[in-house]
Amino acid sequence: MSALGELRTLRRQGAHKGSQALSEAARKEERAAYLFLVPWLAGLVLITAGPMVASLYVSLTDYNLLQPPEFLGLANYLQMLDDERLLNSLGVTFVYVFVSVPLQLAAALGIAVVLNRGMRGLAFYRSVYYLPSLLGGSVAVAVLWRRLFGADGLVNQGLALLGVHDAPAWVADPDTALGTLVVLNVWTFGAPMVIFLAGLRQVPVSLYEAAAVDGAGRWARFARITLPLITPIIFFNVVLQIIHAFQAFTQAFIVSGGTGGPSDSTMFFTLYLYQTGFGNFQMGYASAMAWVLLVIVAAFTAINFWASRFWVFYDD
C-alpha cells in the first residue's frame, strides 16, 4: 500500500514540475514502479480477487465440485433461512465470539498492566504469556485440549483431588464443549497482550505523577488515565479479535473430531461451511455461506468503527 502512496506522490511531483523532460522521467519511473508491482498485482488478482469473484459466482450455482456449476440465482441464499443446522451454527459462533473476545481482551489487558510495572525478567514473562497465542491455533494444542478436558483428562483428575468426582466429560457434553473452546481462545491472549503492552508504554508517566500528587489512587489512575489513553489500542484489538474469532475453525475441527459435535454444540459456522463444501459436495451452498460470513464480519467491523467515535479517544 505504501508503494501506491509513493506512486501518488510521484505523480503529484510530476504534475507540479511543468518541465516536459522531468515529467517524462517521472512517467518512466511510474512505469517502472508498476512493473515492480506486477508480482504483487498478479498475486492479488490470481490468489485473492480472482478466487473471490469465482466464489461469488459459484455461490449463485449448484456446484458439486465434480460437474460444471449450474446457475441457480439466489436459491442458495434463500435456502439458508430454512437450514436449522446453519442457524444453529450461527448461534454457536456468536456465543463463541461474544463470550471469548471480551474475556480474552480482559485477560490480555490485565496481564499487560501487571507486566508493565517494570518487573525483573519482563522479557521472559512476556514470551511465556505470548507463547499460547502462537500455539493456540495449532492442531497439536487442540489435540492436547481434547485430552485435558476428556472424561479421564487432567482437568478432571485435578478436580478429583479437590474432591469433585462427578465432573462432566467437558469436551463430550453439549453443555460444556463450547465452553472449553472459549477457554482455549481466552488462553491465547498473548497477541493482544503484546499490543496492549506497547500501548501502555506510550502513556506519559508525567500524567500518573500529576495524578498521584492530586491524590488519585491506583484504580482512579487506571480508570481515568490509562483506559482513556489506550482506547485506540483497545479498539484495534476488539476489531481484530472479533474478526479472528468469527474465522475460528481449527480448534472446533480438532476437538470435535471434525463433526462439530456433540450434538452440533461446537459446530462453528466455518466448520459447517467446510462440511457442506467438502463433505457433502455442495460447494455452491458453501460459497454462499462464505459470503454471508464475509458480510457478517464486515457489518460488525463497520458497527465497531461507527461506535468507536463515542468511546475512542485520540490524543493527537
Binding site: 508498476y34 465440485l65 453439549p174 463433505g279
Partner: protein
C-alpha cells in the same frame, strides 16, 4: 537500464499471463506416461503394506514408476474432491462405498466393464473370476462397474467373554433377539457400577441397515431416490437405545460421545462386554484386551429374517480423467490378484474378497484376523443378498444420523422429532 513499457504493453503482458495460467488449469491434466498415480486412505498398517506393494509393482514393471499418495480417511476426501475438481485425480484411487455414488454419478469414475473378466478372456485386464457375485457386484450402479472390490465385510457383534464371566451374568449366543439383548444388557449394567451392557449403537446407520432389513425392506428404494422403510422402524430403534441408556444397558451419552479411535472404544477399555462394528475391526480392538474377543452375529428381530449381508465397502477405482487407464487397470489387477500382493496385504484392507486370496494368507490359527475370516466364511452363504450400492448423498445421511442420535441421547430432541427430521432431510438429500 530503464524499462520502457507503455501502459498498454503492461496490460497486455498481464492479460497474457492470466490467460496462460487459466488455460493451463483447463487442459487435460492426467499423469505423465509411465508415472501413474495411486492413492489410498487408511492408518499406518495400510500405509506400510501399500508402500510395500508399490515397491513390488515397481520391481515387476521396471518401466512404470507408480506415484503414491496416501492419507487418513477424513483428509483423503478433502484432497480427492479438490484433485477431481482440478482434473488431476490419481489414476487409481481407493474408493469408499460412502462416497462411491457421489463420484460415480457425477462422472468422476471410469466404468470398468470393459476391463473386468475371466483370466482366460483376452483383453480383460482385471480378473474377477475368484470373487463371489455379491462381492464382485458391490460397486455396480445402473449396470456399470465403478470399482473392484478389495475385501468382503459384514456387521458383527464382538463379545468379551472373560468380562461376561467375571460379571456373573448369563452367557450369550447367536440365538439372541433384540429383546433378549436389551434385558441382558441392563442386567450387565446392574452387575457392577463401572460397567454398562453394550456400546451405544443408536447413532450407527450401518447397524441400523441390518435392523431395517429384518423388517422386510431395504434401507433405500431401488433407484436410491428415497428411504424405503417406515418411520416407525427408526423410532423403534432410537427408543430402544434410549431405554438402554436410561437403564445402564448402554453408557451415558457423554461417554459414547468421547469415542474416537479404537483405543477409546468402551469395549477396548473393558467398560462394556459387547461392541459392534465391521468384522475386521475386531483385529484393531483385540490388542487392547487380554482375552480373545468372540465374534457373533448381531441380535435379530426374532422373525427368522436376518438383516445381515456380506458386501464390499472399499474399492479400487479409475479416474475418468486418467490418461493411462490400461496401466491403471493392470495396477488394480496386481493389487487384487497377485499372490505376493495378497500375502503382503493380509487383512489390513479387510478380509480378502475371494476364497483363493484367503487361502494364500498364512494367518495364525486363533488370531483375531483368522476369526474375522472365519466369520465371513461362516455367514456368507446363509445371509440374504446384499443391498445395492449406497446412493448419492449417503455420506451426508451418515453424519446426520449420528448427530440426531446424539441429540436424542443428550435430551436435545425427542425420538419422533428426530425421526421426522431424518426423513425430511433424506427427502432433500436423496434424488
Amino acid at each position: 537500464m530503464t524499462p520502457d513499457l507503455t501502459r498498454r504493453q503492461l496490460l497486455g503482458v498481464t492479460l497474457a499471463a492470466l490467460a496462460a495460467s487459466s488455460l493451463a488449469a483447463c487442459g487435460p491434466k492426467g499423469s505423465p506416461p509411465g508415472k501413474p498415480g495411486l492413492s489410498w486412505y487408511g492408518g499406518d498398517p495400510v500405509h506400510e503394506a501399500m508402500q510395500e506393494l508399490v515397491r513390488l509393482y515397481g520391481s515387476k514393471h521396471p518401466d512404470v514408476d507408480v506415484v503414491a499418495q496416501f492419507s487418513a480417511f477424513d483428509d483423503y476426501w478433502d484432497r480427492l474432491a479438490t484433485q477431481t475438481a482440478g482434473r488431476s485425480a490419481p489414476d487409481v484411487m481407493r474408493m469408499s462405498m460412502s462416497y462411491l455414488a457421489d463420484y460415480a454419478d457425477r462422472g468422476a469414475l471410469t466404468d470398468l466393464s470393459a476391463y473386468l473378466g475371466k483370466t482366460s478372456e483376452t483383453g480383460k485386464l482385471i480378473s474377477i473370476d475368484d470373487m463371489a457375485p455379491d462381492i464382485a457386484d458391490s460397486a455396480r450402479i445402473d449396470g456399470a462397474y465403478y470399482g473392484v472390490s478389495q475385501s468382503s465385510i459384514a456387521n458383527a457383534a464382538f463379545v468379551n467373554r472373560d468380562l461376561v464371566a467375571a460379571l456373573g451374568v448369563p452367557d450369550v449366543d447367536e440365538s439372541w433377539t433384540w429383546a433378549d439383548f436389551g434385558t441382558w444388557a441392563k442386567e450387565v449394567g446392574a452387575a457392577r457400577d463401572d460397567v454398562y451392557g453394550s456400546m451405544d449403537q443408536g447413532g450407527s446407520l450401518q447397524l441400523f441397515e441390518s435392523y431395517v432389513r429384518e423388517h422386510g425392506t431395504e434401507m433405500f428404494t431401488a433407484d436410491g431416490s428415497n428411504l424405503a422403510f417406515d418411520q416407525g422402524v427408526l423410532e423403534e430403534w432410537w427408543a430402544y437405545w434410549d431405554d438402554l441408556r436410561a437403564n445402564r444397558g448402554a453408557p451415558p451419552a457423554a461417554v459414547s460421545a468421547e469415542v474416537a479411535g479404537f483405543d477409546t472404544w468402551p469395549l477396548a477399555k473393558g467398560t462394556t462386554p459387547v461392541g459392534f462394528g465391521w468384522v475386521q475391526q475386531v483385529a484393531f480392538v483385540q490388542p487392547f484386551l487380554d482375552g480373545p474377543l468372540d465374534i457373533l452375529t448381531p441380535p435379530t428381530a426374532g422373525t427368522g429374517t436376518s438383516g445381515l449381508f456380506v458386501k464390499c465397502l472399499d474399492f479400487w477405482s479409475i479416474a475418468s480423467t486418467s490418461s493411462q487407464p490400461d496401466e491403471a487397470a493392470r495396477i488394480i489387477d496386481f493389487l487384487v490378484n497377485d499372490d505376493d500382493a495378497i500375502r503382503t496385504l493380509g487383512i489390513v484392507l479387510g478380509v480378502p474378497p475371494s476364497e483363493r486370496a484367503i487361502g494364500l494368507l498364512d494367518l495364525d490359527a486363533g488370531s483375531a484376523e483368522q476369526r474375522a475370516v472365519d466369520y465371513v466364511g461362516r455367514i456368507a452363504d446363509v445371509v440374504p443378498p446384499a443391498p445395492p450400492a449406497w446412493p448419492l448423498g449417503y455420506n451426508e445421511l451418515l453424519t446426520l444420523f449420528t448427530k440426531l442420535g446424539q441429540d436424542i441421547s443428550f435430551g436435545e430432541a425427542g425420538v419422533s422429532d428426530a425421526a421426522t427430521e431424518f426423513f425430511e432431510q433424506a427427502a432433500r438429500v436423496l434424488r
